[in-house]
């Protein structure tokens, strides 16, 4: 008996839930996607052809040009302005019979696809985008083939238009083929690209580029950096680097290419001039150069100007900072000369030094 009552209660509850859900979907509206520029017909529920209905959009009267044909509402040459929640009410009592969420959009066009490997030899990622918005929800399907085999594609958890693929093998002579299909309610469009493993390899820029002056060397700067953290195996897949530097006052860069080394000493810097330095990376055999790293600024070491005193003993000098430098670089001037009275400077020597510095500019 108790079981019967429980079952009956469950059935009643289920019926209530279903009825509520149906009523709710009527209020929220079923979605109807239509092509921009087309003529649209909206049908009020499943009423007969001789039914008489009235329509409202978003609770107000329809202002756009329209026609009524029994239970149907006809709109011509629709545009985004026609978007809205359309409700129909059966005459004469005005019961709401249907709600339609009209969304105007376009069919998708061929997406633009690019692929790149910054984690060689682990894998590559592909991204795509639509040149023109479709205005309605559009999904994408991706498939990747290599040597007549379909590869597993992982969609990016964060970026909707990106996917990741692991390289099934390395040093392959066969091209990869990536096909991306854009799909929405109004149509679909595909684009495919083909590439070889070696062509899409482009590392991320080098990291933690640091440039420091070298004490007692007015023309040198020591630059160090790290390989990009996304490059998984720098031992077996070494990178080579390209360093460029110029004084702020000049436009022309100087370049140095380095293999398998993450440091370099610039030996021809202009004394006293602030430099801007950047580094790029590339696999030693394949692919393209990375983007340039973040620029760092540094000025070579400058000898501390001595304070003029009346005694022959050298007093401790006051440390001053040169032009402002970014956080990653801390140019520092030379320390107070050691040995106290070893190098007494006369006024004329100071003048000569100043002239020499000017000559270097």
């Amino acid at each position: 008996m108790a079981n019967l009552v429980t079952s009956l209660c469950c059935v009643v509850l289920a019926a209530v839930v279903v009825a509520y859900a149906q009523k709710r979907s009527q209020l929220v509206g079923r979605i109807q996607y239509e092509r921009m520029g087309s003529d649209v017909t909206m049908q009020c529920g499943s009423l007969d052809n001789d039914a008489s209905v009235s329509w409202k959009v978003n609770g107000t009267d329809i202002k756009a040009r329209h026609r009524l044909e029994g239970p149907r509402l006809l709109l011509t040459q629709v545009d985004l302005g026609h978007n809205g929640l359309y409700s129909c009410f059966q005459n004469p009592h005005g019961e709401r019979r249907d709600t339609i969420n009209l969304r105007i959009g376009t069919a998708p066009r061929e997406p633009t696809v690019t692929c790149r490997s910054n984690t060689y030899p682990k894998g590559f990622y592909c991204s795509w985008h639509q040149q023109h918005s479709t205005y309605i929800p559009t999904e994408f399907e991706v498939d990747v083939h290599h040597n007549q085999r379909a590869l597993e594609v992982q969609r990016d958890p964060v970026h909707k238009n990106r996917c990741h693929v692991r390289f099934p093998e390395v040093f392959s002579s066969f091209p990869y083929r990536v096909n991306v299909t854009a799909i929405n309610d109004l149509g679909r469009a595909s684009a495919a690209i083909s590439f070889e493993e070696s062509n899409i390899v482009k590392p991320d820029p080098p990291e933690r580029v640091v440039a420091t002056p070298i004490p007692n060397n007015v023309r040198r700067l020591e630059v160090t950096w790290n390989s990009p953290s996304t490059w998984p195996d720098v031992d077996n897949f070494p990178l080579k680097y390209f360093l460029r530097y110029r004084p702020l006052i000049r436009d022309q860069w100087q370049h140095v290419e380095l293999s398998d080394s993450t440091s370099h000493t610039i030996t021809d810097a202009y004394a006293g001039k602030e430099y801007i330095i950047q580094v790029a990376a590339k696999d030693t055999e394949i692919g393209t150069w990375s983007d340039w790293s973040v620029a760092v600024h540094a000025t070579p070491w400058i000898e501390e100007p001595k304070q003029i005193t009346s005694t022959t003993e050298a007093d401790p000098v006051i440390e001053t900072k040169p032009s402002p430098a970014p956080a990653s670089v801390e140019p520092h001037l030379g320390e107070a000369p050691a040995g106290g009275a070893n190098r007494p400077l006369s006024i004329s020597s100071t003048l000569v030094l100043g002239v020499l510095l000017l000559l270097f500019m």
Binding site: P121, K122, F167, P168, E169, V170, F171, S172, S173, F174, P175, S194, S198, D235, N236, F237, P238, T284, E285, I286
Partner: protein
């Protein structure tokens, strides 16, 4: 030794690149790979973990075998080419490849690894001829390119491992 090999490799690569002219270099041209029975080329492609785990001897042996086959293939390609300029260039290229092969064999001997017996290496049909010279030529050079790229990485790995000992 490996530095010398790398240098030779670069030279050969440059020679090869000056070759990617007609008739093999049409944009996006990728003919179907010939059936392995008709044209047996050693594939440079390998699973990453397998490649990493190769012992020095096996690594060198794979390179040695590959270039033996590829040398024979390029020689055959040169033989079947009608264009005299191309033929001369291919034969010149073979000299470089032969040098590379010699260096690899020399390195193997120095390290105490036995060289594989010199078997009759043939790429084409039973008479050694290429069935479809244009298509086969494309794949021979394509695979050669992959091998040259792979060898640079192989030699780099060998260099590091030999230094560590």
């Amino acid at each position: 030794m490996t530095k010398y090999l790398e240098y030779q490799l670069k030279e050969i690569k440059d020679t090869y690149l000056s070759y990617l002219g007609p008739p093999f270099n049409e944009k996006d041209f990728s003919p179907p790979r010939p059936n392995t029975t008709a044209l047996s080329l050693p594939s440079a492609a390998t699973r990453l973990e397998l490649w990493r785990g190769l012992e020095n001897r096996a690594r060198l042996a794979q390179n040695q075998r590959a270039y033996s086959v590829l040398l024979a293939a390029v020689r055959e390609l040169a033989r079947s080419t009608l264009c005299p300029y191309l033929q001369t260039s291919l034969l010149h290229f073979c000299t470089g490849l032969d040098g590379l092969l010699g260096s690899i064999s020399g390195l193997m001997t120095t390290l105490g690894y036995a060289l594989p017996p010199p078997s009759a290496v043939s790429v084409g049909g039973s008479d050694g001829e290429l069935q479809e010279p244009r298509r086969d030529g494309f794949w021979i050079l394509r695979e050669l390119q992959s091998w040259l790229w792979r060898s640079a990485k192989d030699f780099n790995r060998l260099k590091k491992r030999l230094r560590a000992h």
